[in-house]
Symmetry: C2
Subunit: 385 residues, 2 copies
């Protein structure tokens, strides 16, 4: 196990009705907040009204910024930061899924930065200061509610880049699983695929952590147990709760501390959603099994076998390559069972940008679990076609 | 899943050589520290000298209190608190295993309390203030390095009581697995049994958490993988590291949040070590399989089967009661494999105090996984004889 420093100070208020603590959560942080949200579904399901009522009752001043995009854009970040400075905002309060929280993180950092916000996306080391963030989660997927990352898109340059800094971890997050009961089947499936992908990215690594990997397997089993259940019965609180709490732990650093991890599938997917604006989790679900099959070899078979035996209950006495292959089939099958597409063409992606996307992705895949070149990535895209 | 608030702000500095960050860790907390330690093994293995050198080089003033008992006593807590007040101590710095850290927590709280320290042990709600604690761990067992608890003994009244408060969580802990290479086989085994027991106490509960239980299984597998390895090869850093990091997560609350947990074996064991001053983990290893067999029934068989299948790799197609029974045998066998005793008489405990110990333990077992009366506890003691 490698040396590390563990520090996850985010406080989590988990469960139905925890929103009622919002005033107490905000009290030590500031009394002028910026509400951020996406397309406005929070206005339909009552969350918006509840929050406004709490803010008004407690005389907490607020500004609003709606319309954050599913893949949040740098223009939105710039506008949010300008609003923060103009209005003297003290706390950023995103209400939504990962996109809204990611955008809020970038806004929180950009509000404290003199240069252009895109600098901070391109280089997380420039993030030295940020407004505190309190998030209210409405979609289990990205784990942004407890992590340091933010992914921001620049459609002008077709770039979708992840940035991050310790101070971007939310001070507190409210995780009320009942808020996700209204998430439709497609987005529940995509969110679950995203959670699973985060765990898998941490799991397949060259410097292993035994304990971390056993925990990762437990989290994967949780996704598998409850992903389909949440889709079949959207009101299943237990399913929603397990997916939500797992989303946070998939990517809050616990699974990677002590290991050496470099993501494989996310960089390939980020190009898809940068070029085509598709749902991130859908891209991951399409690419993951193809990536697995592409990197399966005598060198990696043992790890895939362990994955198959411990996560999918595959017979441990099978030859490694056989068990590994079954594990990959099971993975693909589960994504299909959740109703997710398994081919790029199903989401309108053709070969036209394979070359440029592969080139960009490969730049981040030199030290991946199995290092991938541009040609490797192109071949994976082709097989996923 | 039940509602909960998650907050574990303890920073962990994990890995070989992390002690060199001690001055930076102490800087924001204070510049007058109380070093606490036990029998003095830290003076033999160099840890003491390293720490003194860091403190001197950085002009951090310190007082010392050695001789903390394996089951720390209230007299020691009182003396430590008096020393803190007299010398204006700002940070308590325990160097050792759970006993030393537990004692330091009680000292940190008692130093800020006007009444008698035993009040705080009897009722954790009275702990409102405490000096910050920075622990240096030298034994993987109790998890005190990242939790809120402290167990203190009063030999006059034969009481061994656990107290706790959020502010007793160490501000930071240094976890250097290489410090545990000198821990002998017996204490490595007892420590591992303690870790496993913490996980099992969280695991067997009436309000389940699916995700939490899958994580618990992963942690149990880690103990099983590395307990014997650390005993057979004391210098195995990977084994020491996995046990150490698992010790923290076994009991830092993560496994129980969202569930309803009431411990079963710990209350029964606390009586043993209160009356006989035996090693806590040894008492747990003796009692655990007997407790398991006693509470195994048609009602609990399914949970024990899950434990057997997921932790011990027992055939999932066996009848539940059969799989459960095999899982219990495996548990007992593993403790024996680590060289631990399996009978009370092996550690010098006879029937003489079964009655009074059972009465005291039963007072805390009314809402356990399977509620136990005084007669139940006596019967478990008898079977463990």
């Amino acid at each position: 196990m490698k040396n590390f420093v563990y520090s996850i100070p985010t406080k989590i208020y988990f469960g139905e009705g925890q929103i009622q603590k919002l005033d107490k959560i905000l009290a030590p942080l500031g009394d002028k907040v910026l509400l951020m949200y996406g397309g406005g579904s929070i206005k339909k399901n009552g969350i918006y009204d509840t929050i406004i009522q709490i803010l008004k009752e407690n005389e907490i001043a607020y500004e609003e910024m709606g319309g954050v995009e599913p893949n949040p854009r740098i223009e939105t970040v710039r506008a949010g930061a300008a609003l923060c400075r103009e209005k003297g905002i003290q706390v950023v309060l995103p209400i939504g899924g990962g996109s809204t929280i990611d955008c809020a993180k970038a806004v929180a950092a950009a509000a404290c930065y003199d240069g252009d916000a895109w600098d901070l996306v391109k280089d997380g080391r420039k993030i030295r200061k940020a407004l505190p963030i309190v998030s209210v989660l409405t979609l289990s997927a990205t784990g942004s509610e407890m992590d340091t990352f933010a992914v921001i898109s620049n459609m002008e340059t077709n770039e979708k880049i992840g940035t991050g800094a310790e101070i971007l971890r939310p001070a507190a997050s409210i995780l009320d699983p009942s808020y996700t009961k209204s998430v439709n089947a497609y987005h529940t499936a995509a969110g679950t695929a995203d959670i699973m992908s985060h765990i898998l990215e941490a799991y397949f690594s060259n410097v292993e952590g035994y304990m971390q990997d056993r925990v990762a397997e437990g989290l994967l089993k949780t996704c598998i147990e409850f992903g389909v259940k949440a889709i079949e019965n959207p009101d299943d609180y237990e399913a929603r709760a397990n997916l939500m709490w797992t989303s946070s732990w998939a990517i809050n650093d616990f699974l990677v501390l002590g290991k050496r991890v470099a993501w494989s599938v996310h960089p390939m997917e980020h190009e898809l959603s940068a070029f085509y604006d598709i749902t991130h989790g859908v891209g991951l679900a399409i690419l993951t099994p193809h990536w697995m099959r592409y990197v399966l070899s005598d060198q990696t078979a043992e790890k895939f076998r362990t994955y198959g035996v411990n996560v999918w209950g595959i017979d441990k006495d099978l030859p490694a390559i056989e068990a590994a292959s079954q594990a990959i089939d099971k993975t693909a099958e589960y994504f299909r069972k959740m109703g997710l597409p398994s081919r790029l063409e199903e989401v309108g992606i053709g070969e036209e940008n394979f070359d440029i996307m592969a080139e960009k992705a490969a730049a981040q895949l030199r030290s991946a679990y199995v290092p991938l070149t541009k040609e490797d990535v192109k071949e994976i895209y082709r097989r996923a076609k």
